[in-house]
Symmetry: C2
Subunit: 421 residues, 2 copies
């Protein structure tokens, strides 16, 4: 047993290309400190804490930890386990503190979206009420880019760079084979916010360039408008490339895919979407009478390490690092934010926001980032996203010509408590 | 008017990441020769020839021509226009010779698959019968890798590298979020041949690695087998990552998607598929009772310049170059082939095959490249594909953080014939 308190690091929700960079920042910074004993990983996020499935990250090889920066998805493990209110999930919250106490964990670094910040905030309050000394720090993570109080979220710049490039590339495919494949629809992620769809707009630098139409959930969608938009582009170019966010909604605010019964809810209560691309294809083929196809990048967009944004990797690392630095300076109950400094040159520093404020907030694409017709972006959006997608991820290629990704050895911590999950 | 005969270069069928490298090889080599006048581009392949929509590629800026190597899809323009037999498409074939004659075109360089080689062969025969001096050379091009008489086809190595990387990346996503998203299906292209699906098998270096199951059209598929396979992987790993070729067939040789009526035919008479991913997802969710999702890379896989294989780019260029060199040496009616030299070190040179032989051939994934269970690849396939995916495409990034692609200025040739199309 070591006498210094341990720190735990956990990842939550949908993975990104850079959530491991944030973990790397936490781990490397915590291992430098003489106030922190070991850095403990929670296998599969909150599930790992509840199940006491923990492993000693400090015991991993330094080069494995360094390779986190080049490895997509959540190397420690993630989950979508939803904690409700302190009353409704009392047993879970108590268990978390019991596990922390059993392993002398006094620092909790949690990378995730607003549901995770909510969990971290509640754990923090419960610890305070129980007189258990604990520092809870949040690290922003979501490809959806919808967290409030931060200029942008680590994970978003990489998906933005990748989907914009995919729109360019598949756009060239349509441009050169439009006599056969006249319309292509690229369906991208974004449940409630259209940030990912909006990023693809950066690829359109002249009228010929894809995407010609970009639909985001923030602008009410109608099939009549779609058909009209498509016909206009066709008349001009003889082809059309469309980007559609998965969560397109009609004027009543209902998901356009809702009437198909083609959705279900995940364990966070979020509506799981899919099908916008297929739906648009069917409508366009029927109403406009042209051949249409759709590409559904799915989880490939959020894990595309091979073309991640270097800016994103560095900022994600900085968020992890600053979570530890702040924690060691006595800050508690905050999420690290990214702050875009004023000035002509892009410069990003970090700030802090209350976990509870982040938990309750949501940031959509502002109206001034979307054009009047609701079918593309404005220069304001271009100016917002351009600095984020600068730089390419350094990747190591092995003898198979493929990227090298790390895996932890996962030396498990001995369980000290009765089985829970 | 210049007195030297002109050469025409045309692209056909589905684009690839490197069909423009082949065009670059043709153009740069032809422009070096004092036997060839201008290099003429046929806008949208055979449609451009029939419609006399031609432009002077020799008049383009040298840097634009050089940038072809970094630009995906068919920059000259492609189509899926199908020429039938000499009898059934006599007017079209006659028109092609009329257009060649009107512009003093004596070299025809045609990049495409077996349908295109068939067209080139027929044009060649017709010219010979008519006493019109013409050299017709084919350049192999297909992501499907299904042309006979060539070790592999330019375009395939790049899609192989990209989809294998996508399987690794989305595989890590599933590996780290399997408690929520337990099964992921990656649907890839490959109408009749499973080469693209097979390439993803290279990513699986240990039992943990995705893909765990690889289904190719060459091995009869059954849903009973699928469910059995999935359950076995689940028992071992708690998750499963599946790659499925779009053209999976049952034991009777029928497309598994056929009974849904979800397919149509393109103008070449090929069945246009899609829906294998969605179908497997539905069956797995219903029968295995786990959450499944599918990614459909679609045209993004064949246009993924940003992670193309450098080997592929270089070999594609060599094919274009060798088509011209051979033509200038008096070779006619052949397609350039890629020849893998014997020996421990990969070395690729070019050979020649009769256009008519290529037109009638088809190369599927051999049985010894597929494992006994028909659900993954063997080391023989790994050894085949590994050398092809070596090296990464050099890409130029602009101030928006996105790749730079070229477009031709397209100085049109004056039309000399009556309108045809």
């Amino acid at each position: 047993m070591n006498s210094k308190p341990d720190a735990i690091v956990a990842q939550s929700g949908g993975p990104t290309a850079v959530i491991n960079s944030s973990a790397c920042g936490v781990i490397q910074e915590a291992m430098k400190s003489d106030k922190i004993g070991r850095v403990i990983g929670a296998t599969n996020g909150i599930l790992g804490i509840l199940g006491e499935d923990l492993f000693d990250i400090s015991a991993e090889k330094p080069e494995t930890i360094e390779q986190l920066k080049q490895t997509p998805a959540a190397a420690i493990g993630s989950c979508r386990y939803k904690l409700k209110s302190l009353e409704d999930s009392k047993a879970d919250f108590d268990r978390i503190l019991d596990v922390f106490n059993a392993h002398n964990i006094r620092y909790f670094f949690y990378a995730g979206g607003n549901d995770s910040m909510d969990t971290a905030d509640k754990v923090n309050k419960l610890a305070a009420d129980a007189g258990y000394e604990l520092v809870c720090m949040g690290i922003p993570k979501t490809v959806d880019n919808d967290l409030a109080f931060t200029d942008h979220c680590p994970g978003y710049p990489s998906v933005a760079k990748y989907v914009a490039t995919c729109a360019m590339e598949a756009g060239r495919d349509t441009e050169t084979l439009y006599t056969a494949d006249t319309c292509t629809i690229l369906e991208v992620m974004g449940r409630n916010a259209g940030w990912i769809a909006a990023a693809t707009g950066l690829a359109a630098r002249c009228p010929e360039d894809a995407p010609h139409l970009v639909y985001m959930p923030e602008a009410a969608f109608s099939f009549d408008k779609l058909i009209n938009d498509v016909n206009k582009v066709l008349k001009k170019l003889g082809r059309v490339f469309i980007v559609a966010g998965e969560g397109l909604k009609n004027e009543k605010g209902e998901y356009i895919t809702a009437d198909k019964g083609a959705f279900s809810r995940d364990s966070f209560g979020h509506v799981q979407l899919g099908g916008v691309g297929a739906m648009l294809k069917a409508v366009i083929e029927k109403e406009v009478k042209i051949k249409a196809r759709f590409n559904l990048l799915g989880t490939n967009q959020r894990s595309a390490m091979h073309f991640a944004s270097l800016t994103d990797i560095n900022e994600a690392y900085m968020c992890g690092q600053m979570a530890v630095k702040n924690a060691l300076e006595g800050v508690n109950g905050k999420m690290v934010t990214l702050v875009r400094e004023q000035g002509p040159q892009y410069k990003c520093t970090t700030g802090l926001a209350e976990l509870r404020d982040v938990a309750n907030g949501e940031k959509k694409v502002p109206r001034e980032f979307i054009n009047d017709k609701g079918n593309h972006i404005t220069d304001a959006m271009r100016d917002y996203v351009r600095p984020l997608v600068q730089g390419e991820a350094p990747i190591t290629i092995d003898e198979d010509g493929l990227p090298v990704f790390m895996r932890f050895e996962r030396k498990p911590l001995e369980k000290k408590l009765p089985k829970y999950l």
